[in-house]
Amino acid sequence: MVLGLLSWAIASSPGWSSVQQSYFDPAEARLALPEVAEAFVFNVRLFLVAEVTILAVALVVAVIRVLPSPALMPLKLVAVVYTDVFRGTPTILVIFLVGFGFPALRLEGVPTSYFTLGLIALTLSYGAYVAEVVRAGIQSVHPSQVSSARALGLTYGQAMRLVVLPQGLRRVMPPLLNDFVSLQKDTALVSVIGLVEALRAAQVRASNDFNFTPYVVAACFFIAVTVPIARFADWIALRQLRREQGRVLG
């Protein structure tokens, strides 16, 4: 209803025909589609790989931060500084610094492929966020769970892997998936270091034709991928709620 009114108001506004021309030109969309689609494959690839590396970094950092051993104090300090620094720095800045800084070092073995650089930057930035989510999950598991696991003879590592993490991660699944929704969007940020991904492809197209329709096409691709993840997150959250309230077995 509201949406209908809104679209009617927009469509009947005096500037509509020119906006439609430059943003929703069907001919232009048809032209841009294959290029943007081809570039979008890159976004998806980056997203899929980054998901894994981010989760790995986050798990390691989160576990280091909750370890009870005082002997690991220096390592814990590193983990704290890492999360503080990278949670405080805008992702786009991290991408700039890594994307232009690493190659400038001209060190042996430092990756120079833009894909790898973008991956490193996103992993550093998102790893810090996701580590905090994972840590919250770990800490939501009652310490008596660890006690009873240890009492059965499990090592600390086994207790973590078999008892704490499965429970903790399940509990933070919705916020975790939300972070991945925003990660999928932020794969567009790597265009700032010259990577040709969907946004960049749209940009090139748009400036050639003096028409913004390619941007809208790119937006549609991002929406098409993030909406299912968001729905999945909702579904997980709902199922969890039901489970906690109704003790439904799954």
Partner: protein, 253 residues
């Protein structure tokens, strides 16, 4: 880890002058206690007397500040000892069951046999099912713990501990969290374990149960074993005034 040189042949468990303090609170102030294989010992004492603390120290979940614990002739308070290896041979069941909510009853029972004792999945499952069956829980093997009653959960927790074949089983007020009508099923299971020859140290407020099942009862007071003796003798005609006090107050409730 290899056995230490400091071995001695005696009781299964021997506790000597064990101390544990939290801040300025001397919870254990020199505990002496020994348990022979096959013996069932009940630990009584008012709330806060340190029963749970003692059991956690014996299972090496807490480090003692002073004193020695000999288990199977090995000084397990030696810092070089691998505590995980000791814990494998001791079972501990808590007041609040502490089952793992994310795995089934069967998963709870087979976790330690598989992951700690290296049993094959099938083998561990067959043994677990046999144990569950013996204690009337076979129908519950594939459900999640939170669909069980408190009594059932505690019986699963007992089965989970027994499945690791402990040389010593520590029970910490296993019926205190239960509704009165569920206490019986758990206590009869404990009695059954005794009949099978399980060595147990049981912290409990169930004095009539202690009278029936314990070979010996220890009264914990002010951080020490204040009085101990055969169950009937200690519970019916204690020698120490403080023990008498405790029992009188207990029965007056």
């Amino acid at each position: 880890m290899r056995r230490q040189a400091t071995e001695r042949a005696a009781s299964l468990l021997q506790v000597e002058a064990v101390r544990k303090r939290y801040g300025r609170n001397d919870v254990l102030a020199g505990i002496d206690l020994s348990i022979d294989t096959g013996e069932v010992v009940c630990l009584i004492g008012s709330s806060g007397s340190g029963k749970s603390t003692l059991l956690r120290c014996l299972d090496l979940l807490e480090r003692v500040d002073d004193g020695t614990i000999w288990f199977e002739g090995v000084d397990v308070t030696d810092p070089r000892i691998n505590a995980d290896v000791v814990r494998r041979r001791i079972g501990l069941v808590f007041q609040a069951y502490n089952l793992f909510p994310h795995v089934s009853v069967l998963g709870n029972v087979t976790m330690a046999p598989r992951r700690v004792h290296g049993r094959r999945r099938r083998e561990a499952q067959d043994e677990a099912l046999a144990l569950l069956d013996r204690f009337g829980l076979a129908a519950k093997a594939h459900v999640f713990p939170d669909s069980l009653s408190g009594g059932q959960q505690q019986r699963v927790a007992l089965v989970r501990a027994v499945a690791t074949r402990p040389r010593l089983l520590l029970l910490d007020e296993v019926t205190s969290a239960l509704d009165p009508e569920l206490v019986g099923e758990v206590l009869s299971m404990v009695a059954e374990l005794k009949d099978e020859g399980m060595t147990m140290l049981i912290a409990t407020h169930e004095l009539s149960f202690a009278r029936d099942v314990a070979d010996r009862v220890c009264f914990l007071h002010a951080g020490v074993v204040h009085e101990q003796g055969p169950a009937r003798q200690l519970l019916d005609s204690p020698r120490e005034p403080r023990t008498r006090d405790f029992l009188r107050r207990f029965h007056a409730r």
